[in-house]
C-alpha cells in the first residue's frame, strides 16, 4: 500500500482520476470544487493530458461528450448550480450511451443557494438529473480515501455499462483534509468499438446519437437501456454495514451524514441501544438488498440527510414501508451534530418499542 499523505478531498479525487487513466478534464470554476480544476490545470500539462477551462458548465459537459465519444476517459466536476447547467449534456450522454465521470461537490440550494455542504441534489442525481428516461451510476464517498477510491470504480462501471457516472460528494468531502493512500489503479480492459476514431476507410461510420424520430425505435432504445439498468441493479449495489449484526434499529446515511451518524450510533450503543447503520455507497443503484434484509430484523429506520428528506423515499421503497422510517435532517448548508442524530435515534427507539 502506498504511503499516506494528507490531501483535500477535491485534490485526492483529481489525482485518483489521473491514476485511473483519465487524461481529459473539462471544467468551470465553482465553489466548493474549484480545487479539482486547479489541480488538473497543474498536473495535466505535465503528463500529456488535457485540462481545459470551458466557457461554461454547459460547454464543459459537451467537451466531455466529445472526448468520451472519441473513446477517452473524460471527466468534469462542478457543484450544484453548475450540475443543473450540465444536466442537458448528462441527458444527451445517457441517450448516447457514453461513459464519463461527473463529480458533484454539492452545496446548498435551490438557486444560487450557499457554498456550504449539502446533499440536496440527491433527487437530481438518483432520478437521472435531466430530461428523459434514464439513470446515472451514483457513488457517494464518505471519506477522502473514498473520494479517491470511487473515482477508478466510477470510470470502470461507466465504461462497463456505457453510462455516465456521478460521484456525488459534498462540500465537506471536497474541502476536508485526511490522510489518503493513492495507488495506480489497474484500468479494467474495455473495448470501445463504438468510439469515433475515424473510419480509416475500413469500416462503416460510427454514429453517436440520441435522436430517434420513430417512437417505436426510441421505445426500444429505452427498453434496452433499462434492461442494462436491471443488470446494474443486480450486480453493483454497494453499502457498508456498521454494527448491523444485532441491530434492532437502523440508521441510513451517506457521505458526511454517515460520518456524523457513526458517532451517534457509537454514543447510542454506549447507552445500550442496539442500533446500527447502513451507509449506501451506491445511491443509484440504491442498496435495496441490504435494506430489505434489515427490514426483516429491525424495528425502525432513521434516514439522516443534509436536505429536507430525499433519500428517505428510497429507504421506504427499499423496505416496502414495512417498518417506520424517521427523518433527521439539516439543510441549507448546515450539518447535524452527533447529539442531534443521537436524539433522533433515542426518539426512534422510544416510538419503535
Amino acid at each position: 500500500m502506498a504511503d499516506k499523505i494528507l490531501m483535500k478531498g477535491n485534490e485526492a479525487l483529481a489525482e485518483a482520476a489521473i491514476m485511473a487513466g483519465c487524461r481529459h478534464y473539462f471544467g468551470y470554476p465553482i465553489t466548493p470544487q474549484t480545487e479539482v480544476a486547479a489541480y488538473m490545470a497543474k498536473r495535466m500539462p505535465k503528463i500529456g493530458g488535457v485540462f481545459l477551462q470551458a466557457e461554461s458548465e454547459i460547454a464543459a459537459i459537451n467537451m466531455v461528450i466529445g472526448a468520451a465519444a472519441a473513446g477517452k476517459r473524460a471527466m468534469t466536476s462542478s457543484s450544484s448550480p453548475g450540475i443543473s447547467l450540465k444536466s442537458e449534456g448528462i441527458s444527451y450522454m445517457a441517450g448516447c450511451d457514453l461513459p464519463a465521470l461527473i463529480v458533484n461537490v454539492q452545496r446548498g440550494g435551490p438557486g444560487l443557494g450557499g457554498i456550504q455542504p449539502s446533499q440536496s441534489d440527491y433527487f437530481q442525481a438518483t432520478c437521472g438529473g435531466g430530461h428523459g428516461d434514464f439513470h446515472l451510476l451514483v457513488l457517494a464517498p464518505s471519506s477522502v480515501q473514498e473520494m479517491a477510491d470511487l473515482v477508478a470504480k466510477g470510470f470502470d462501471l461507466a465504461e462497463k455499462y456505457r453510462m455516465p457516472c456521478m460521484l456525488l460528494a459534498d462540500g465537506t468531502m471536497g474541502q476536508m483534509m485526511e490522510p489518503v493512500s493513492l495507488e495506480e489503479t489497474k484500468q479494467e480492459a474495455c473495448e470501445k468499438p463504438w468510439a469515433l476514431t475515424g473510419t480509416k476507410g475500413e469500416r462503416k461510420p460510427n454514429i453517436i446519437n440520441s435522436l430517434a424520430l420513430q417512437p417505436q425505435e426510441l421505445e426500444q432504445w429505452n427498453e434496452d437501456r433499462f434492461k442494462r439498468y436491471e443488470i446494474v441493479k443486480e450486480n453493483e449495489q454497494m453499502a457498508e454495514s456498521y454494527l448491523m449484526d444485532d441491530a434492532e434499529y437502523c440508521v441510513v446515511a451517506f457521505g458526511i451524514a454517515a460520518r456524523v451518524s457513526q458517532n451517534a450510533v457509537d454514543a447510542a450503543r454506549a447507552k445500550g441501544i442496539k442500533v446500527g447503520m447502513i451507509r449506501p455507497i451506491t445511491l443509484w443503484p440504491f442498496p435495496e438488498k441490504v435494506l430489505k434484509e434489515a427490514a426483516d430484523k429491525c424495528k425502525a429506520f432513521l434516514s439522516v440527510e443534509l436536505n429536507m428528506g430525499q433519500m428517505i423515499k428510497d429507504v421506504k421503497l427499499a423496505i416496502d414501508c414495512k417498518k417506520p422510517v424517521d427523518l433527521c435532517y439539516r439543510t441549507g448548508g448546515m450539518i447535524p451534530s452527533p447529539e442531534e442524530v443521537l436524539a433522533a435515534i433515542e426518539k426512534m427507539q422510544k416510538e419503535g418499542k
Binding site: 481529459h24 473539462f26 488535457v50 481545459l52 470551458a54 466557457e55 461554461s56 454547459i58 460547454a59 464543459a60 459537451n62 467537451m63 466531455v64 461528450i65 466529445g66 472526448a67 468520451a68 465519444a69 472519441a70 473513446g71 477517452k72 473524460a74 442537458e88 449534456g89 444527451y92 448516447c96 469515433l196 476514431t197 475515424g198 473510419t199 480509416k200 476507410g201 475500413e202 461510420p205 460510427n206 454514429i207 453517436i208 446519437n209 440520441s210 435522436l211
Partner: protein
C-alpha cells in the same frame, strides 16, 4: 469516362431537405473538400440541431450528434481527445448564432483547430419558420408575423463580422450558393477551411448564405432571387479574416 460523380464522403441516403433548399449543395461542397484532401477516414463530424440534424446520415464519416448549439464544444472535446483527427461542425443560424453563441465565440477565441460550416438562411427551418438571430429587419416569420421590428427585437447578428474581431479566429469567410460563381467560391472557401485544419493552423468558419424556400414562402427560384436582393446586401460576401494568410505574408 465519369466526369461528375457523387463524392465518396457522402452516403447513399436520400437527403430529406425541401425542394430548392441549398443544404444539398453545401453538403456536396463539404464532401468534395473531404474527398479532395483525402481525409474521410480521419474525419469526425458533429451534427447540430435544426434542419441539418440528420447530417450524420449523409456524411460518410464518423459523426456525433450534439445538443442544440453545443456542437463547437463537442467538437472541441473530440479534437482535444485526438488532435490528429479532422473535426468539423455543420450548424444552422439558430443553432450557431442564438443558442450556441457562447460555444461559437469561445471556440473561435481559443483558436480551436476545428472547421465550422455555418449555414445562414435567416430562419428556423426545422421548427417551421420562426425568427432567427439572422432574420432580416422587417422579415416576416411565424414569430415575427408583422415583420422583424428592430425596435422591439433588435437587429440581426452578423457572425463573420463579430468573430473576425477575435484574435483567436483564424479564417472567417462568408460565401453564398445562389449561383454558379458563388458556388465555386464557396467550394474553394470550404476546402480552405478544412485544409487550414489539416495544416494545424487553427479556427476556420465559413458562413454560407443559404435559402429556405418553404419557410420563406417562395419558389426555389424566387428564394434565390430573394437571397440576392435581401440577404446579400445585409450579409456581404467576402473574407472577413485570414490570420493565416497574414502570418504567411509576414
Amino acid at each position: 469516362m465519369i466526369v461528375f460523380d457523387k463524392p465518396k464522403a457522402l452516403t447513399d441516403a436520400p437527403l430529406h431537405y425541401c425542394p430548392g433548399c441549398t443544404h444539398g449543395i453545401i453538403h456536396r461542397l463539404v464532401a468534395e473538400a473531404i474527398d479532395n484532401l483525402n481525409i474521410g477516414g480521419e474525419t469526425i463530424g458533429v451534427a447540430s440541431v435544426g434542419c441539418s440534424v440528420f447530417t450524420y446520415n449523409y456524411f460518410n464519416v464518423d459523426m456525433v450528434q450534439a445538443a442544440h448549439g453545443r456542437a463547437p464544444a463537442v467538437a472541441t472535446g473530440v479534437k482535444r481527445a485526438d488532435p490528429s483527427k479532422i473535426v468539423f461542425t455543420y450548424q444552422g443560424d439558430g443553432d450557431l448564432a442564438s443558442i450556441g453563441m457562447a460555444e461559437t465565440v469561445h471556440a473561435a477565441a481559443r483558436g480551436e483547430n476545428i472547421t465550422i460550416i455555418f449555414v445562414n438562411n435567416a430562419i428556423y427551418g426545422m421548427t417551421g419558420g420562426q425568427m432567427a438571430p439572422t432574420s432580416l429587419p422587417g422579415q416576416v416569420t411565424q414569430t415575427s408575423p408583422y415583420g422583424r421590428d428592430t425596435n422591439t427585437v433588435g437587429f440581426p447578428v452578423k457572425v463573420c463580422e463579430l468573430l473576425s474581431t477575435l484574435d483567436g479566429a483564424g479564417y472567417i469567410e462568408r460565401v453564398a450558393v445562389n449561383n454558379v460563381k458563388n458556388v465555386r467560391n464557396a467550394k474553394k472557401a470550404i476546402e480552405k477551411a478544412f485544409r487550414n485544419q489539416v495544416e494545424g493552423k487553427g479556427f476556420s468558419l465559413i458562413e454560407v448564405v443559404s435559402t429556405c424556400p418553404t419557410n420563406w414562402g417562395k419558389t426555389p427560384q424566387g428564394a434565390l432571387e430573394w437571397l440576392e436582393e435581401n440577404m446579400l446586401p445585409y450579409y456581404p460576401l467576402g473574407v472577413y479574416k485570414d490570420k493565416f494568410a497574414e502570418e504567411a505574408a509576414k
